[in-house]
């Protein structure tokens, strides 16, 4: 079943307003078309949503393809995760951006558990890149290696990845902070350092990197 971007976004809005994890029409959509879908009540950075919208809203549908962005995620509900897995199986590219860098311990534990249970993603506890315990931080950038090398501003705290299937596509201070994993015909991309705020602040390299994923 195809779902237009307009339909998809209206479903997402409904999900937010009704505080539902994900509407069934969206959950059963096989091929969503380029959309930004925050999990209701679980987006820690509204500016991240704004950033992805700023970067993608004016892009033609053909460019966006079957992209789904889940910005600044905290807790991933299981039925939402099932929706993501379904889209991946049907060829979607899904970006899951962690928003847990600034959360408390309890909230982070939920984040970690929900990623593990829903998407088999394993993450470490957040690392503060700019603390006094790390006085030798050299650059303020996350270094991406895929789909092309790019330096994009870090967001102070990152959620590094554990060893697991998939390709590490970015590091910050040597820490693995982004992963790409093929799932059938689809691609799951996990970002442990939020990209949305950089897009929101007009980071050209960030937008170029995002669009190059879709090329």
């Amino acid at each position: 079943m195809d779902l237009s971007r307009r339909e998809f976004l209206s479903c997402a809005a409904a999900a937010m307003s009704h505080r539902l994890p994900i509407p069934s029409r969206v959950a059963h959509a096989v091929r969503p078309v380029g959309c930004i879908l925050p999990v209701a009540g679980q987006c820690s950075l509204p500016e991240s949503i704004s950033g992805f919208h700023a970067a993608l809203d004016n892009e033609p549908r053909a460019v966006l393809g079957h992209l789904v962005v889940v910005p600044a995620l905290l807790d991933l509900p299981l039925d939402f995760a099932r929706g993501i897995v379904s889209w991946l199986r049907h060829g979607a590219t899904v970006i899951v951006e962690s928003g847990a860098g600034f959360t408390g311990q309890l909230s982070f534990r939920r984040h970690r558990r929900s990623l593990r249970d829903g998407l088999q993603l394993a993450v470490h506890t957040p690392v503060r890149l700019w603390s006094e315990q790390r006085p030798f931080r050299r650059t303020p950038y996350v270094d991406y290696t895929w789909p092309h090398p790019a330096k994009i501003r870090d967001f102070s705290r990152v959620v590094p990845l554990e060893d697991q299937p998939g390709e590490i596509i970015a590091r910050a201070d040597g820490l693995p902070v982004a992963l790409k994993r093929r799932t059938g015909p689809g691609t799951l991309i996990y970002l442990g350092s939020p990209l949305g705020p950089a897009l929101w602040a007009g980071d050209v390299a960030g937008k170029r990197w995002l669009l190059s994923i879709l090329a």
Binding site: E47, W130, P140, P197, A201, G202
Partner: protein, 279 residues
């Protein structure tokens, strides 16, 4: 024009009442109250206590010129951490609330803080986004928010035209500039800032600056009026040109080592000279 001075200038061991008495005797018309900087005016100070504070100020024959705060240095509106940002917004809201209770129509805030960690573009965007709803809140309360030009210290909005663009982007009549004529250092000339911002100036902080010294450790570049490099005749003329007739508020960083009360008298008299134009 009227003269005011910050309550954070009152020697720590004096207490509020004795300090207010000094401020009045030195010839000031009002006092700037610094939320979070002095024991009598904290975020935890209740509305009832704030009303009592106003009564003490008025009993001393003074009025509250404005509410200021230095709390945003630790909790800036530009913080990445949503919790810190929420606290920063709450500080501004409390400033607005207390300004109303104190009978004032102006507050000061340090709008954002550019650091190695949080870059300029983010700070700009976040401050604009935060100030739009705060401007609406201030307008409803009949209060104007003055974003202070802390040029060197917050590494943000360094030029007057950039500051004007920032205020244009916020686009609220209730958000203007609290102009500090000492903070401009080597990056410009206070009189030009006054000309460019004119009616958007909510209050003016007065102090002098040793432009060629530069900060060195804890050594202050700020000094008493007429001892530094500000062009005071030009500053006074610019105020006349734009029709500024509001509060002038003394903000001295360097304090007298001895006879601290004398600094109040000297400053008040120097401000009289600025106001009269006998320079």
């Amino acid at each position: 024009m009227k003269k005011s001075i910050g309550d954070n200038m009152i020697p720590k061991d004096w207490g509020l009442e004795r300090g207010l008495d000094l401020v009045k005797r030195a010839g000031f018309d009002g006092i700037e109250l610094w939320l979070g900087d002095v024991p009598w005016f904290q975020m935890t100070t209740t509305d009832t206590q704030v009303r009592e504070l106003r009564r003490k100020v008025e009993n001393a024959g003074l009025v509250v010129s404005n509410v200021s705060t230095g709390l945003h240095w630790a909790s800036p509106l530009s913080a990445r951490d949503p919790t810190v940002r929420a606290q920063a917004v709450r500080i501004v809201e409390r400033e607005i609330e207390t300004a109303v209770l104190l009978g004032s129509d102006a507050i000061l805030l340090v709008a954002g803080l550019v650091t190695e960690e949080v870059p300029y573009n983010e700070v700009y965007q976040r401050c604009v986004e935060s100030l739009k709803p705060l401007g609406e809140k201030a307008a409803r309360a009949g209060v104007r928010i003055g974003c202070e030009n802390c040029n060197a210290e917050h590494r943000f909005l360094i030029s007057p035209r950039e500051f004007r663009q920032f205020l244009n982007d916020v686009n609220s009549a209730a958000v203007g500039i609290h102009l500090d004529v000492g903070n401009i250092h080597e990056t410009g000339f206070a009189e030009q800032w006054i000309e460019i911002h004119g009616p958007r100036i909510t209050r003016i902080h007065l102090k002098d600056v040793l432009k060629h010294r530069g900060r060195c450790g804890d050594q202050s570049v700020y000094t008493n009026l007429f001892l530094g490099d500000n062009n005071w005749p030009a500053i006074r003329a610019a105020m006349t040109k734009v029709g500024y007739d509001g509060w002038l508020i003394a903000e001295m960083e360097a304090r007298y080592r001895y006879a601290p009360d004398q600094q109040f008298y000297d400053t008040a008299q120097a401000m009289d000279r600025v106001i009269s134009g006998r320079l």
